[in-house]
Structures are given as C-alpha cells and as structure tokens.
Symmetry: C2
Subunit: 235 residues, 2 copies
Amino acid sequence: MSSEKLKIAVLGGTGNIGEGMVLRLALQNLMAEGVKNEVIIGSRSKEAANEAAKKAISELENCGFDTSKITITGNSNHEAAQAAEVIILTIRFGHVLPLLHEIREALEDKILITPVVPMEKEGDLFVYEPPEEGSAALAIQKNVPASTKVVAAFHNIPARKLRDIVKCKSVYHALVCSDDAEAKKLVIKLTDHMGCMKPLDGGPLKQANTMESLTPLLINLAKLNGFKDLGINFS
Amino acid sequence: MSSEKLKIAVLGGTGNIGEGMVLRLALQNLMAEGVKNEVIIGSRSKEAANEAAKKAISELENCGFDTSKITITGNSNHEAAQAAEVIILTIRFGHVLPLLHEIREALEDKILITPVVPMEKEGDLFVYEPPEEGSAALAIQKNVPASTKVVAAFHNIPARKLRDIVKCKSVYHALVCSDDAEAKKLVIKLTDHMGCMKPLDGGPLKQANTMESLTPLLINLAKLNGFKDLGINFS
C-alpha cells in the first residue's frame, strides 16, 4: 500500500467512457486503503471540464459517498496533462494524434494510458480499422516523446456498466499491455481497484491490436445476438 | 428436430482439436434427440484415419457410452471430403491451401468449416499472422469453388477441454461467422449440441479475423497470468 498522491488526468473526461473512469478513479480513495488519487478532467474547454468535475462530485454526494477525501478538478487538456503523472486518453482515435502533438511537452516521463479503438461502421456492424502502425497504441507510441510510457488498457469495458458505480456488480477482465514493466504494474493496480474489472497482463504493446479489436467484436456480438453492454471473461 | 443423417468429415481428425471434435460430434447421436451424425475422420493416410476411428469408438465404449448408435469411420482426406456434406478443417494453416487444391472437386456445394488460425511464435508469445486476404477464412474462401459455403467457427475452444468428454463441465462461447445464412444456422445447431459450447452469431465471414486472433490472445493470457486451457465468455 502506498499513501502517495497519484495525479491522474482523464482527457476527454466529459465523454462516455471518461465519466465512468473519473468516478471510479476518485472512488478508489474510499474503497482501497492508502489510495489517494487526484483526478483531473481534461477537456478542450476548461469551463466544460470544470462543470464536469462539479457534476461528478455532486453525483458522488447524491449516491451517499463522503466526498471529503475525493479530489476531482477540471482543466484544459494541456493543463490537465501537465499536472498529472498518469494520463488517460478517453477520446476518439481521429482526435488523438493532433491532441498529442499539441500537448507533447506535457507527456515527458508520464504514463499514458490508451483505451482508444480505431473502428468504422460498416452497415450494421463495426470493423476494426487500425492505422498502418498496426494499432492505435503503436501509432500513439510513435507520436509521443521517447520517455513517455504507453500502456494500452480499458478498451473492452462496457461504458454504461463502468458509469453505473452503484448498481453494477459485474466484473469483467481488463487486458493491460505495455513495453514498460513498471508502468504496466501501476496500471494493473489502478485497474484492480476499479470495482468492475479484473486486470490481466496482456504482454507487450505489440499485442494491443487484439485488445483493440475486441471492442467492435463486443458491439457486434451484442447487436447480432440481442445482448446489451457485453463485457468479456476468460476462464 | 431433423432425423436426417448428416455426414461430417473431420480432416486432420487424428490431431489435437480433431480428436475432441470427432468424439463430441459422434456423441450428439446420444445426447440430442433426432441427431444422426456420421463422422468420417480424414487423414493423409487412410490407415491412420481408420486406426483413429477405431480408437475413438473404443474410447467411447470405455467411458460407458452405447456405441450402437454411433458411426465413426476413417478414410483419406479426399474420400472423407467426397462422402461428407459438412467438412471441418482441423489442420494447420500452412497445410490448408495445398489440401484444398488437392480435394477441390469434393468441395462443390459443401459446407466447409474453418477453425484454422494462422499464428507464429515470437519469443514466449504467439502473434496472429493473417494472410494478405485478412484472415485464414477469407484465404480459404478464395481457394474453394464458388458453391462451397465457408463457415468460420471453433477457433477459441481449449483443445484439452474439448477432448475431455466426461469431466469437462465448462461451457465456452463459440463464435460462428459466415456469408451463408443457412450454413451458419446449421453450424450454430451443431455447436449447440457440443456440450461445452454456447454458439454466438459472429456476423459475416469478414469478421473471422477477430475470431482467429482470439486464439493467440488466449494462449498468451494463459502463459502471462498462470492459467491453463483458457476459453472465453461474453456477459
């Protein structure tokens, strides 16, 4: 158990996956001994990020949680990244590379987590469309400083279940891959405290393409077989 | 319920996945009402196939099953394919295209099931290495007559669990994809009677690449996280 404060920026934290991630990361301060996460929502607009932070805190209060030990603030994507040790990119692949270019110097020596999935709709179904590097994770690695530790994780967790901090009792496997052993270890620990995820070591970053391709698979299987919010378990 | 006899050739039926498939397909005659599967093991050597068929029957007898309603025979790959309505390719990707070329005329109008996964070992882990068509399934479709109905299925079932007809109580999701609705329906029905699989519609054959890539993922996750014989469940 460490009692260090960990500053985590959730860029795109006002979006679908981002909202659930923010709530779950903040709640770890109440759920797991010694955890002191400080969550910073990043957004293109500082005002929107601030609004989202206030909304998240009041939602936790309304659910009956003691928010005196919880820190959620909002800022611009650049300021949020600058302040954080861990940065989570909960934004669409199409916006990722321009953003990384814009905040490049804020990424030096940081852990950068990508749950990003490049996919396209084709008829009723989704198709995984990785960039020429082989995966979003590898394209991201190519576009950040050499000192940035890229970790791919959280692609396959149904957003609605992640968001549902009170009622969701389901636990899904979450695959974590990286070429940096220490960074992977930290993300596995974060994941383990998330309440709805059981982390598994997914190997090196080269394996991220399979993890990314599971997201369109899950959406397609739900659509084709009449399910909702599918997650994945290995047994 | 149909009382028609369905002749199923398991090419490579003397191998790892093939053995379990043969036993499970034959056992359906006892387990599911109206099913009358006739299983033909195909192999490069007719003698080896015959031996494997005898061994399978005697294994079922030793497990206490009434084999009077069970038909398992052996033949050359070509003769087995010729006699069957459904052909399952339980052989390595490297051997598939030459074999398809050799037995091409026996494939006309047949249902051809591919659980084939092209993968390579890289260090301790496996990497999915699809051919330029995008998947083994699409490469196979390109190399068979236009009248052959290609169905991709059974990639992600742990061989040892499939083989363990008595003790294995685990049930895994099995993804089935095809561009032919009728053929997909038949394979989903076959899968549903397998005892260790719950079939899911995986969509068109174009989606087979994701299903194929799950096999190296499962092997890697088992290796990296200290598990054995991992299968997959969606929930």
